[in-house]
């Protein structure tokens, strides 16, 4: 399991990941989360321009069986969303750390990243 976690992401305990480049954070859900959810059939994304607060529900991912809230791991303004997921929600299952990303945020409180889990700690968190 831990082998599938890229080294350049940090995770929230609620199973979202964040990857930061030049003050811009990309957010998605972990491989563990997509595996637990099973087949993703729909993703509801936040509006571009919306101000997100770390820990607040901002998106919804639906499997055949259930709807689950997605919590933003960081605070900031949404600068882009993954439009591909609207037609191809299965990308969340097939490529959770790549093409299955959810949205991008311009970080307003970069220090929040320090509270997130590095790959080794997240692996322990999910018992991998």
């Amino acid at each position: 399991m831990s082998a599938s976690i890229p080294p350049d992401v940090k995770h929230a305990k609620t199973h979202e990941w964040v990857r930061v480049r030049d003050g811009l954070a990309t957010v998605g859900i972990s491989d563990h989360a997509q595996h637990e959810l099973t087949d993703v059939v729909f993703v509801e994304l936040p509006a571009v321009g919306r101000a997100l607060l770390a820990g607040a529900a901002c998106a919804v991912v639906e499997s055949v069986k259930t709807a689950s809230d997605i919590y933003s791991p960081v605070s900031g303004e949404v600068t882009a969303v993954n439009q591909q997921l609207l037609q191809h929600p299965e990308l969340v299952n097939s490529d959770p750390y790549g093409a299955g990303w959810f949205f991008q945020v311009k970080l307003s409180r970069p220090a929040e990243l320090d509270a997130l889990l590095n790959p080794a700690d997240y692996s322990r968190e999910i018992g991998a």
Partner: protein
């Protein structure tokens, strides 16, 4: 403590995701709901339905007793034939929906919902106590003694016989027509096999003594493997039955909902004579109901409809008109589907409606049942 079926260890070994279903620890899925659903539609799936109840009613007055408590006409049955039927209270409300098989002339096997075993047994016991011919009726709830499997899918008839080593007997696929039941020997024990199911596909249900159920499960999985058989969980069972619009007790049916409201009038034999709930059902038949179960499809790509979401009328004067009772993403159709109750005057096929999903209105259309048809 959740109840477990005789197949609990088998589910664990297969890596099933387990959930609480009406007090039972049951497999939700093994390889995934979509994968299992599509396996049943294209090849075969094997479900553990051991949680369902088995009630046996025997004796010379048993046909008369059952015809007084069930809505369908048991006199239409011949030996080794079964029928879908309902059991209603005085108000015509459904206590349960079930299958009744006439195993022998004076012996009936009732297959009831897991969540309703105690309610059914209590109701039947109470009705029997008030039945004049009670001394000639023997009622036994044998649910704890039996396990049960549902083998479903278009390829099941090709390997069902390989599960039973009795070369002298006729092929099951040839011997059993829809809704018929027979017995076969398995490990020296007698098991029931019927040709029925809850998926809209061809298939067989097997009721076996609990002790041999794990061996039967393994035998069927082994016989079906070359045909693409997969173990399938309650997740796929629910999406499969929703596509073909079969009701699920607790969703489409409850004690305040009648078979006529649920669109199951064809299973209510008003002409057979007196039976529990008949007067209310006859009046509903004559005057109409105040709610009607409809099937709907999402009109565009949307979040899947879920049970309890409000149904709204479409148009400028839109208002809430009902609630979703079952809803999901249809694996076969690739869009949101569901069932729900609306006023009869708003139930016409092709009517536009809207499903309220997290405060937003998602357009949908009422469509004829079933939502999915083979081929």
């Amino acid at each position: 403590m959740l109840k477990r079926t005789p197949l609990f260890a088998a589910h664990q070994k297969l890596g099933a995701r387990l959930i609480d279903f009406g007090g039972w620890e049951m497999p939700l899925h093994y390889s995934g709901i979509l994968d299992e659903h599509l396996a049943v539609r294209s090849a075969a799936g094997l479900f553990d339905i051991s949680h369902m109840g088995e009630i046996v009613v025997r004796g010379s007055a048993s046909p008369e007793f059952l015809n007084g408590v069930l809505t369908n006409d048991i006199r239409k049955l011949q030996n080794r034939h079964g029928q879908y039927t309902l059991m209603c209270n005085e108000r015509g409300g459904a206590i349960d929906d079930l299958y009744v098989y006439q195993v022998e002339a004076e012996e009936f096997l009732l297959i009831v919902n897991a969540s309703r075993i105690s309610a059914d047994a209590a109701w039947l016991t109470q009705q029997l106590a008030a039945f004049p011919g009670r001394s000639a009726v023997d009622l036994k709830n044998l649910s704890a003694d039996f396990g049960a499997l549902a083998l479903q899918g278009p390829k099941t008839a090709q390997f069902i016989d390989a599960c039973f080593s009795s070369p002298t007997s006729q092929s099951l696929a040839a011997a059993l027509r829809k809704n018929e039941i027979t017995r076969r020997e398995f490990l020296g024990r007698s098991i029931f096999i019927s040709r029925t199911g809850y998926t809209g596909e061809d298939g067989f249900e097997m009721v076996a003594p609990a002790e041999v159920t794990p061996a039967l499960w393994n035998k069927v999985l082994e016989a079906g493997a070359p045909f693409g058989l997969k173990p399938a969980g309650l997740g796929a069972r629910d999406t499969l039955r929703t596509e073909v619009c079969y009701p699920l007790y607790g969703h489409e049916l409850d004690e305040n909902t009648t078979p006529l409201e649920a669109g199951l009038g064809v299973f209510v034999a008003l002409a057979k004579g007196e039976f529990m709930g008949r007067s209310v059902l006859a009046e509903q038949k004559a005057r109409g109901t105040t709610k009607k179960l409809v099937a709907f499809k999402s009109a565009e790509k949307s979040a899947p409809p879920r049970p309890d979401y409000p149904i709204w009328s479409a148009g400028p004067d839109r208002r809430p008109i009902g609630r979703v009772t079952s809803g999901t993403q249809s694996p076969s159709l690739g869009i949101g589907i569901g069932l729900g109750y609306v006023p009869p005057e708003m139930s016409a096929a092709n009517s536009p409606i809207a499903i309220e999903i997290r405060g937003k209105h998602s357009p949908a259309t009422i469509v004829p049942k079933p939502l999915y048809r083979k081929g």
